[in-house]
């Protein structure tokens, strides 16, 4: 069985992003980029399936600029077998990425696609769902446990206030939640070996996919700044402030 994993290059989770002064977006100049944390979990899950003998091949796909090779190399070091870079300098939105992934599915015929439940840059949580709809595949989102059966996957989903367990037919799209697994570190010997693993490169056009954005960003603004705290001198002053300024009592 083949497993396809999607890995997006995003601004590192720990970076304090700054909004551009013209409010057109966030400043990406000299900002540290990493694999989307939910995709790290997806890679780990795929590699575990392979280690458990349930998958023969793990293919990792990334859509974006040539710099995405870095993230593909990371996935290869973690245990994926080969990579596919769909290279474009356009800003690619969830629908565009879903279409690209659909085209790769047609080409590679994997039984399972594992992707993050969302990418931490756009926070859209759409790609996996759109891909399932485009291809008519099974769909199991927000997975915290995955078990493969005969032509099926039984997936525990994290839903509001509890867990839901569903069984989907393969091929299916599974999107990962935080508790699915704990990703391993990339081992240096494996990074050395991963240098020899192949990465194929296509453009969206090669795949016959149009990734022109369909959503236009009007404005990006930073969250309101929190005001610094003050020290009150007396209980009376505190009560007064709670009453008349904060208006909470």
């Amino acid at each position: 069985m083949k497993v396809l994993v999607a890995a997006k290059r995003v601004v590192d989770y720990n970076v304090n992003v700054r909004v551009l002064s013209d409010e057109s977006g966030v400043d990406l100049n000299n900002v540290k980029m990493s694999v989307n944390p939910f995709d790290e979990i997806a890679i780990e899950e795929a590699v575990r399936l392979k280690e458990a003998g349930q998958a023969e091949e793990v293919i990792v796909v990334s859509v974006g600029t040539s710099a995405c090779q870095e993230q593909i190399r990371t996935a290869l070091a973690l245990g994926a077998d080969r990579g596919i870079l769909v290279e474009t300098d356009e800003e690619v939105q969830p629908l565009g990425i879903a279409k690209v992934l659909k085209a790769i599915m047609d080409k590679e015929q994997p039984e399972i696609v594992i992707a993050g439940k969302q990418a931490i840059d756009g926070d859209n949580s759409q790609t996996g769902q759109m891909l399932a709809a485009l291809g008519g595949y099974g769909q199991a989102t927000f997975a915290s446990e995955v078990e493969l059966g005969d032509g099926t996957a039984t997936v525990t989903r994290e839903i509001d206030g509890g867990l839901e367990t569903i069984t989907v037919k393969l091929p299916a799209v599974i999107t990962t939640d935080l508790r699915l697994n704990e990703p391993r570190y990339a081992s240096l010997p494996n990074i050395m070996k991963a240098k020899k693993k192949p990465i194929d490169t296509y453009t969206p056009a090669d795949l016959g996919v149009d990734v022109t954005p369909s959503i236009k960003t009007l404005k990006v603004s930073p969250p309101a700044e929190r005001q610094a705290g003050i020290v009150v001198e007396t209980v009376e002053e505190l009560v007064d402030k709670l009453k008349n300024e904060a208006k909470v009592i």
Partner: protein, 461 residues
């Protein structure tokens, strides 16, 4: 009555609101991070200006009082301990950041500024204050200067000493000295600034500092390596140092790893275990060079395995294996030593110290870790569960002189970065010759003729 008149005289200087005498305050302000001494100060004062400190020193000289400068009280050698009715002079309320000079890249601060606040302030200027360690959230710049604090980035940015462009001090005699005034070049004889850095409050009060800020750090990566022996650790340091721009080079033993894994509830970083581990931090731009270095070491067998951070979160997580050690061994009331030798002598030194301790106490567990890129080794001796704290400390004290004799034989330091204070005072002679100590006492006489500044600390009385 005497005490009362003293209190009112001090209150006349700093104001009633800036004196504390409650039992709780006396206890809290009478001790630092060490727990071996019973705090017993007579009172605590919180001056707000250099002028007030001049007046405090004048009264102290007049009445032969003892003053203990007190910063964040995170010191590990008892430097800020007051146990003999001294007056604690706390800098908690002298904590303003005065001004930043965008051309000089210096900032003028009062000594009570908390280290982490200075780091945050520097970041706001798109610069960095690169001295960092686990206690930075509580320690103060004045205390850092008085102990010449080091930490985890010394390899790249140096010690506190290397960031200080100028100091204003009030000496024990009452003189106000403006030392070096922020200059980079100043070839006009003795640089008294450097005498005050690391003086542990024995010469005078640091009342203002001009601090150089650095360019913000580039993106960093952490490598954690499994290494078969101490000689390999040194070899790995040599190989990586040639190929990559390192910001940290730390090591720890497999015993230390065991404690972290069971205490912090985190998984092992890789399958293979080894006797030692090395944590290297480097600038992302030299990752390529680091890979070449790793390949070379793997080939020759000086590393067995290794992992590298792929994100900022992983960088922080990998540091936990090293930074979690202190906390993990705390339940075993460790007897701590902070030793330094020349980097090249580390393996031989470590073996000699281990032999010395094990020969007498084969069942004491030794935990080694440290900033080995600086030749700085932390040796922690763990208390076996069936030993009482008292008898354990007494035994360790008695073996301590043997350990320090080894330090002396290797021409090392009995205190790498934690100062001398009370804890190491009687062992100073293992690192400093009688002539040197004589000279240090002479210097103290010059700045503090009546011995009002932190008496009994650092130097023999």
């Amino acid at each position: 009555m005497m005490a009362n008149s003293l209190a009112s005289d001090l209150a006349a200087i700093v104001g009633d609101a800036n004196i504390a005498t409650s039992t709780g305050d006396l206890e809290a302000y009478g001790r630092d991070w060490t727990r071996f001494y019973q705090p017993d100060p007579s009172m605590v004062v919180f001056p707000k200006t250099a002028e007030q400190l001049v007046q405090l020193v004048a009264i102290a000289n007049e009445r032969h009082l003892a003053l203990v400068p007190s910063g964040g009280r995170t010191g590990l050698s008892g430097g800020a301990v007051a146990r003999e009715r001294e007056i604690v002079v706390s800098f908690d309320r002298m904590n303003r950041i005065h001004s930043f000079d965008p051309v000089d890249h210096t900032v003028l601060v009062e000594p009570g500024v908390v280290t982490a606040s200075l780091q945050a302030y520097a970041e706001d200027q798109s610069l960095a204050y690169p001295v960092d360690f686990a206690s930075a959230g509580s320690s103060q710049i004045g205390g850092n200067i008085a102990t010449n604090a080091g930490g985890i980035k010394v390899l790249r940015y140096g010690l506190t000493r290397d960031q200080i462009a100028g100091l204003k001090v009030v000496t024990g005699k009452g003189d106000v000295l403006n030392l070096n005034q922020g200059l980079i070049k100043n070839a006009t004889g003795y640089d008294l600034r450097h005498l005050f850095i690391g003086s542990e409050g024995t010469l005078g009060f640091i009342v203002e500092a001009t601090i150089r800020l650095s360019a913000p750090p580039p993106d960093l990566n952490v490598l954690l390596l499994a290494v078969p022996g101490m000689d390999s650790v040194m070899r790995v340091f040599d190989v990586f140092r040639r190929k990559a721009s390192l910001t940290a080079f730390e090591f720890f033993s497999d015993q230390a790893m065991n404690h972290v894994l069971s205490h912090q509830n985190i998984g092992a970083p890789f399958g293979d275990r080894s006797d030692y581990y090395v944590l290297l931090e480097l600038e992302e731009t030299s990752l390529e060079g680091a890979m070449t270095a790793f390949e070379a070491c793997l080939e020759e067998g000086t590393v067995i395995d290794g992992v590298v951070s792929q994100s900022e979160q992983q960088r922080v997580d990998l540091w936990r294996y090293r930074e979690g050690i202190s906390e993990s061994i705390t339940p075993h009331t460790p007897y701590k030593n902070d030793l330094a030798v020349r980097i090249s002598r580390v393996p031989e030194f470590l073996a000699a110290v281990s032999d010395t301790v094990s020969a007498r106490y084969p069942d004491f567990e030794l935990i080694w870790f440290g900033h080995i890129g600086d030749g700085n080794l932390h040796l922690n001796i763990l208390r076996p569960a069936d030993w009482s704290i008292e008898s354990f400390k007494a035994e360790c004290d008695s073996v301590s002189d043997e350990v320090m004799a080894v330090v002396a034989r290797f021409e090392g330091s009995v205190s790498a970065e934690h100062g001398v204070g009370l804890l190491k005072r009687d062992q100073l002679h293992f690192s400093r010759s009688p002539a040197e100590i004589e000279m240090m006492l002479g210097l103290k006489q010059v700045f503090d003729p009546n011995n009002v500044m932190n008496p009994g600390k650092l130097l023999p009385r």
